[in-house]
Amino acid sequence: MTITEEPAAPAREVGAARTRKEDARLITGRTTWTDNVTLPGMLHLAILRSPFAHARITSIDVGPALSEPGVIAAFTGRDVADVQGALPCAWVVTEDTVHPDHGALAVDTVRHVGEPVAVVAARSRAEALDALAAIEVDYEPLPVVLDMEAALAEGADLVHPDKGTNKSYTWVFDSGEAGTGESTGPAFEGAEVVLKRRYVQQRLIPAFMEPRSVVVDPTGDQYTIWSATQIPHILKLMMSLITGTPEHKMRVVAPDVGGGFGGKLQVTPEEMIAFLAAKRLGKPVKYTESRSDSLLSAHHGRDVIQDIEIAATREGKLLGLKVSLIANMGAYLGLVTPGVPILGAFMYNAIYKVPAYRFECVGVFTNTMYTDAYRGAGRPEATYAIERIMDELAVELNLDPIEVRRRNWIQHDEFPFTTVCGLEYDSGNYEAATAKALEMLGYDELRREQERRRQENDPVQIGIGTSTYTEMCGLAPSRVLGSLRYGAGGWESASVRMLPTGKVEVVTGSSAHGQGHETAWSQIVADSLGVPFDDVEVLHGDTRTSHKGMDTYGSRSLAVGGIALFNACNKVVDKAKPIAAHMLECDPADLEFSGGQFKVRGTPGEGKSIQEIALAVFAAHDLPDGIEPTLDADATYDPVNFSFPHGTHLCAVEVDTQTGRVSIRKYVAVDDIGRVVNPLIVEGQVHGGIAQGVAQALYEEAIYDADGNLVTGTFVDYTLPSAADLPDFDTDRTETPAPGHPLGTKGVGEAGTIASTPAVVNAVVDALRPFGVNDVPMPCTPERVWRAIQEGGAK
């Protein structure tokens, strides 16, 4: 592709704090959500779910449901056993990964509470729900496996007895073996300082605002699936592969989608059940889950036990890093379940120079809802463990926590830097971000206050927590994905069409579900083509319109999709150039393009606007010979590297030692995400990301009881914080552009979550050090903090 050589026009739109085009309809709800889709003759589905965590279905009879009012049909797993196929896992991380079949409807055995066992189709949603009570199911309970370490032990009860084990896989990375660094054995041997810690990433629930919903229309020649999904393109491919429906007869539409956070990155049993019902009945069907269904049976996040060990010199220089994970897969493997902890494998070394690194992860089956991607997907876990243990190292060596990081981080002038994992970090300036954050926090003054309160045995203690992070986003270079056995590529696609009246239609393969792509893409196009921001229409989410894409997750849309768009715009300008030259009767080489105008360099007077050219192309009355009458252009971009935003977050907490309550006094975030397209969108992502990270640190945990019931089954017990629980965030940025492409952008969608959890927990632990506390398990509820204080002295 050609890159414009003329001096670029000063950016008017990129960098501007444009309020978002999509917000009016999203905030008021006046748009089409999947549940709003209503089709003639449409039936409503209700799904009967297993109340048992592990049981054999000894008998199941939907007959009584069929005589309930409004019921048209009902069926069970046995009725569709030979057509339902298996739900996909697109990331089988090793060759010998144990990958059990996972049918949408359970046939003989249920393996987690909430697993679908039967479905009813009725004329209304209420009638379908009422009819569920009539279905008779007999279960024979089987032993329930919940504890990961017990599941791996000899003689443990099995989630999948036919597989003979609860272990799904073991995945190892060793820098010595990979040749990207040294071996950890010698590095640890004889090290002056060795620290070992265990941390637990508790299970979380993504809890997106819009519950999942799916409509399937089998009418006519095609199947159309509307779904509240983050991945319409991937869903279309998967559904056609699994159901045997030819891909060109399948259309997937993600209408406006109300949040996902990775929780809608899935090929769900509900989508498959709706498809099977529609196909069987020959009528459109809809399934919309309730909130309690959603908490129970939309995939969960995190749930990993981390053992982390570092070797260092007395001066605090890291010599080696060893990480060992036990990751809870749940009862089955979801779309990318096994890969999530491994995505974090490359982030434990974080921003530091680590000579030797070894990572091992064991995936384990239990009788729980399966886990999968959730904001950060492996990287928050990694950042948490390393940032926590760096604080431990600081305490061990009596160094300031910032100083111990400073002694290890990659210096600004050392970029690009190839890490011990073999990743090449593109750019960064940890010094600048940290200095800014320290100043914004008032670090020195807070340390003095902390000291004073300690001296006075103040019942309210102060703690300061540090989190210096980088993250790998912009998923991802396709070759890297291939080497990790990920089932798909990481490119993204965009089409730009100039309409005869000069308006611009953009088709993107990204699938926004709250990120504001319509606005950011409009800004990029506005600057690239010199057209007004409001003249740009961004189309997405419908595979009939956006025929090609890899959807949205992994903080990739701007970093990959935005570049594809930028490239497509440049192709449009390139196509317009010879036509402009023809209209201006000059040589194309003499033209410069700026502010939407082609002008002959060095001469005054009128040029030709790109809109005029678009109209001329439409009429095609007078185009140069051999030129296609079109300005439309496509581009597909495969990134050559991940993008590595970074930042420093500092959190100051007050801990009421009498009650254990933690409140955040001040939260500072200085993030470097390269070039900023829209600061309002960035702020939104940072705020939301921090909120979810703080939620993990202080509030949320999905808990199963000994029988495998999810006891945090409503928002009463799954304590999601709201704005009322969170402080104002003090945010700022440094801007170190991403090299390698002119847009210079990195990703930001997950950075807030990745950074914030350790910042908060480090602060809590820092406050409690005088009590002999070196850890508080997450979430740091008031009771846990209080108990840590009571027990701390006993350590």
């Binding site: 109340p51 048992f52 129970l296 009881d705 000994a706 019931n709 006891v711 089954g713």
Partner: protein
């Protein structure tokens, strides 16, 4: 979860064993339960449990797994499903009589499992409430056993009598005072012997047991506790009823 109840009655074990088979003394100790059929070692029935506005009706069945007259030991399995699919409850109840001279110790071990909506709340006090309810049953049972004497005969309709105690919140006076497991509310209704009738075949609709008026439990989220307890009650009721039919 496992719940244990132990109580001692001042009668020798042979007498305790016999009295235990006397349904019309024992069945009224189980409020809210209705037996609908008995066939050999198997039975069906339902238990209604009410907790403020929450009302759950469990239809269930159960069977004798083991009865050992020599060892004075009985094991029953029972399970029930809520009629509105709010979930299931299952219990395995093991009751053991141990003779201690003039006294008999009764050990009841219940293994209880609750699923469905009632289980999806942050309760962990199911054991507290179940313990209290089983305690109340046990106290009542202890009272029966201590009374001793020949069987009084008569209709065994567990629900109806207890219903009188639990109907309406206006009776709260007595129940409100009941702290941990006083059987006081149940006893007065029993002191007048019921007129003999032919069989136990006619189950009267049990008033839903309003468990918290009866036992005064303490947990904040006891919804699920109630559910599990119903199954446990059903199991114990079944045990006793089947004993009678096997005579």
């Amino acid at each position: 979860m496992k719940l244990e109840q132990n109580f001692t009655v001042p009668v020798p074990v042979e007498q305790a064993w016999e009295v235990l088979l006397d349904l019309h003394r024992v069945a009224p100790c189980m409020p809210g339960a209705t037996l609908t059929s008995v066939e050999g070692d198997e039975f069906t029935g339902n238990v209604k449990v009410k907790l403020g506005p929450i009302m759950l009706t469990y239809n269930g069945k159960g069977r004798f797994v083991e009865r050992d007259e020599a060892a004075r030991r009985v094991v029953i399995e029972a399970s029930g499903r809520d009629t509105r699919s709010a979930g299931t409850a299952a219990a395995t109840v093991t009751a053991q009589l141990v003779g201690e001279g003039d006294q008999t110790r009764v050990d009841v071990l219940t293994d209880l499992s609750i699923t469905g909506k009632p289980a999806q709340f942050g309760r962990s006090m199911i054991s507290d409430v179940s313990t209290k309810l089983l305690g109340q049953f046990a106290d009542c049972l202890a009272g029966r056993l201590a009374e001793g004497g020949p069987p009084a005969g008569g209709a065994v309709v567990g629900g109806a009598t207890a219903g009188a105690d639990t109907a309406g919140a206006a009776d709260s006076g007595a129940a409100a005072e009941s702290g941990a497991g006083t059987a006081g509310a149940a006893v007065p209704a029993m002191s007048a012997p019921a007129a003999p009738t032919a069989t136990v075949e006619a189950p009267a609709e049990a008033e839903a047991v309003d468990l918290f008026k009866v036992v005064g439990s303490t947990a904040a989220a006891r919804r699920a506790a109630v559910v599990g307890l119903g199954a446990a009650l059903l199991a114990v009721l079944a045990w006793v009823v089947v004993r009678v039919f096997r005579r």
